[in-house]
Amino acid sequence: MFITKKHIPRRTFLRGAGITLALPLFDAMVPAQTPLGKTAASPKSRFCGIYVPHGAIMSEFTPATEGTNFEFKPILSPLEPFRDRLLIVSGLEATTAGPAPGESGGDHSRSAAAFLSGARAKHTSGVDVHLDTTIDQMIAQKIGQDTLLPSIELGIEDIGYTGICGYGYSCAYVDTISWETPTKPLPMEVNPQVVFERLFGDGTNAEQRVARRQEDRSILDSITHDVAHFRKVIGPSDRQRLDDYLEDIREIERRLQIAVKVSADAPAVDVPAGVPQSFDQHCKLMFDLQALAYKADITRVSTFMYARDNSNHTYPDSGVTVSFHGASHHGNKPSAIETFAKINKYHMQLFAYFLDKLRSTPDGDGNLLDHSMILLGSSMSNANEHDHAPLPVLVAGGASGQLKGGRHLKTPDNTRLSNLLVGVLDKFGVQRETVGDSNGRVEI
């Protein structure tokens, strides 16, 4: 956590609005003036940002032809069943993942940060980290305010150590792809059990979960009451942080009001028992949880990281025994390229699992895939050279009728990734002229 000074307009808005919180389960109760009603986007669209570090073998990724009748290359072939919900965007460049003029190295340290922000990480290893708010959080601030959780952030690899993550960059830039404010990175949760409990509450059945959440509310009530009296006696320096804390407590109380109802309606699924050993199972569980959260409308925004940059994870299920980062430095040897492409393809097989999950989950007049928009990609291209163009990027889902699939969109060479981020925001009614270093807009 880096939160020393907080500025969270979202909360101010909530209090200003008199906390007329509508439960997503009772859409009819949403006040007519809710900002959601004014957006171009369907209020039920979901956004998911998925980051895959270390790029891909581009010759095996990008279809040879543009437009609608493209042929799938091997890496993307697992996604063929979802062709009609798929838009491949090629030719992009993650300009801000590369070194600033006069700087060298640190490509892995900036890549995750650049992906959804389009901005360059401030070169620091101290607490003064600075990026831009990422687009998932801009979307969450727009459409996430009346769900239980504005957004959820999921990952696979726990942060083993803290401090500096190479070339004088803070680990904050590497550990997450989601930034709520320019100074506030959101930690990625790796434990499926913890995620499940954040979504549905802690307990073995609905009754227990409801009861525990109600007990939490009474504990918070009592704490708020308590704090008021000793706020007076503590030192002025402590008071500021205590006030931040109180504000957080109010936010949790707000969430708990909704949460109690959500817990009552929790699906009858098995609670994950912990962090699975196999990457395959772990990854699938994380996808399941996102689908569950969308379905129950607990959140409409999620982010997911397959791995951290420089990860030395191995993927036995892919048939490759070399580590992820190790394999990405293939040295342009054909056999090593083939090996890395296998890992790339394996990651897409898991993504196909997610798409399938979403498509087979009914939602309103269609399914979850119809009503979602998933931006998946990397901030690197050929990781052997730490290139940041052309990137492997695709957009999946129907975005509630706003996104036409079955296409390969080839952008002019070195179009900035941030231009695509502007285009993505459009679909959620977030009107931004620029995101990060964008100098235009990729219309999707």
């Binding site: 956590m1 880096f2 939160i3 020393t4 907080k6 600033a100 006069g102 700087e103 060298s104 190295g105 070169h123 101290g126 607490v127 726990d158 150590y161 803290t162 004088g168 904050a172 506030k184 930690p187 059990q193 913890v194 802690d202 073995t204 525990r212 007990e215 939490d216 009474s218 504990i219 918070l220 009592s222 704490i223 308590d226 704090v227 000793f230 006696v233 503590i234 030192g235 002025p236 320096s237 402590d238 205590l242 931040d244 804390y245 957080d248 407590i249 936010e251 949790i252 969430r255 028992a273 912990g274 962090v275 699975p276 050993q277 030395n312 191995t314 036995p316 025994t321 070399v322 580590s323």
Partner: protein, 800 residues
Amino acid sequence: MPRVSTQLGEKAPVRKTLLLGWIVLVLAASGYGQAPRPQSPAANQRAFLDQYCVGCHNQRAKTAGLMLDKMDVAQVPQNAEVWERVVRKLRAGMMPPSGARRPDRPTIEAFATRLESELDRSAAAKANPGAPALHRLNRNEYANAIRDLLSLEIDPTSLLPADDSSSGFDNNADALGVSPALMERYLSAASRISRQAVGDPATPVSEKVYALPNDLTQDTHVEGLPFGTRGGVLLRHNFPVDGEYLIATTLSRGGKDGGVGSGAADTKGEELEVSVDGERVKLFNLASAPDLEVRIPVKAGLRSIGVTFAAKNYAPVEDTLQPYLRSMFPGGVWTVVPHVGSVTIRGPYQTTGIGDTASRRRIFTCHPANEQQELPCAKKILSAIAGRAFRRSITDQDLETLTSFYQVGRSKGSFDGGIEMALRRILASPEFMFRFERGPAKPGEVYRINDLELASRLSFFLWSSLPDDELVKLATQGKLKDSAVLEQQVRRMLADPRSKELVSNFAGQWLYLRNLQSLVPAMEEFPDFDDNLRQAMRRETELFFDSIVREDRNVLDLLTADYTFVNERLAKHYGMPDIYGSQFRRVTLNADNPRRGLLGQGSILTVTSLATRTSPVLRGKWILENILGVPPPEPPPNVPALKENVRPTDKGTDTVEVLSVRSRLEEHRAKEPCASCHKMMDPIGFALENFDAVGQWRTLDGRLPIDASGQLVDGTKVDGPVNLRKALLVYSDQFLRTVTEKLLTYAIGRSVEYYDMPAVRAIVGDASRNDNRFSSIIVGIVKSPPFQMKVNVEESAVRK
């Protein structure tokens, strides 16, 4: 050395007289003033500056942003921040730079001493003790607090997210902020922990996977497991209730499904033993067992689970091709025996009872026999727990709140349920999660923190946990202020096993030991490097630092001690003969042994290297920062990366250029803006070049002989670790200050600023009369103004 006593409340006039006396003595002894006789001390100081410093540090050149030409040396306190920088550079021997004209050491020291005495005198008159931000317990402190409060071991990583760090330590209050997501986690942790501590008969099934590192070699015995066993793992697992649990093992080698080189391992006759608290519960025959799962009843509480192989064959490999010490590589193996890949513990099934756990015994100090006794008993239990948790005496108001929660829980079920509910309220309380310190309303006031707050600062410093009953009792009685009592408590706390937290948290972060865990030296270059070696390196340095603490040694022993700790694996790495077995033991090192002190230890040498090669720059930087306390600035922009060394390929071409790291770094020292810093860093690192990137002794780098020679900034010529150690010892006082500064940073949970330096000097001065004993530095810190006092934050910000 002039000194300002750290003892608070001493009479100032006496001290001033003493101080002046000291200065006169030092000046006379150092030969200061033998130069052409100056009119005044200030003029003398000015002459020094003009002669040696302002050539670069003037308003025109602005070298390092330092302009000494126009600064008033008669008014040192007015520019305390700048002068502290000057003092630091001089004390570490970094200035004047190499090549520049340099006065002899006594002259430099005398100049610095004069500055210091001015700074110290001004600080004594008007101290600024600073003000740390509100401190939230970090994840580790939280787990320790739960252990000490409830006798319950929890896995904090499954309950709370990792904390960030600042100024090198993760207990820095600036980095310990709050957010709704984080507060939710604390709230849910409170609920989970209370249930676990009281015991929940309806505990749902959960599982925990213990995955062993894939570079863990399991060819030999593991410390802690029975003799006659080989490989495997010894785990400590907390079983929530009495019931049945499944213990399932997978093999990373020799398994039926998957795993590196599966099928190739010889499983014939191989046996896998599963034990609980040393008692065998299952022996699998690998050749015939259908799976490696065993479901057994286990009593609630913390248990040791051993999963290991029966040792069958230790015959050495008789071959010209000797195997690497690391047994398994991605895609290949160097071992014939099976290896454990992971152990999963799942349960409870068939809960038979909540069990008689340590935490229940700790919580339930009374057992009501009937309903009338329940409320009084609940009050007794809850005031005891709340008192410890909040580190203060409990008020009627507190008890009323807790009783109401008790009653809610009681009404829904049992007496235990009531206690659990109230416990949950205690753990969720901000008074447990944060370390609040009361303060006067008046802004700018410098004040002493109260005894209870002092007790908390003490225990979180030395134990990373709550104060115990004795400390709280002394604080409540107002006795902790008493200097003798305080000192006696510090010694008691250092002797307590809980002070091992200083090793894992303080030393672990100061020396970068924690980074070792995530370091993966390149397999192609260091094929012997495995997790066994990684853990052994960490353990050596931990045991070494621990010996300084436990034996209350001279802190300089960190650089010079005539002993270290090794086991067989590490001894092999160091080339020490005749050390057998997995257990660590103390070994004596003779005077010219390069392994003496921290700089000869594999851990330090490895964390300051790159994956493929040594980095004299990183090693030099590490020493400047952590030994001499003069961290170099970040490199300027526009620096191209070093060209990687080109190695001859298998095909063998004669045209490739093989350059030593040394010659590749030559460029750094030849050109500005690199040279000014690299002339300081690189020669230090070169002196350690005989240690490769994993700390193994070598005389060749590739095909080139090692050249460990170099000239330090102060002109000293060094040619290896032994000489380097001697050269650094010239600055032992600066090393002691650096250690003290790091310890103080850790102790008060904020960065140490220029206005803290008088306190640092005083602590080191006092300790020097006590053989620099570790405890004397700790006592000095605990008695110093930054530790005992606080200033209103607004005022402190202005002074900054």
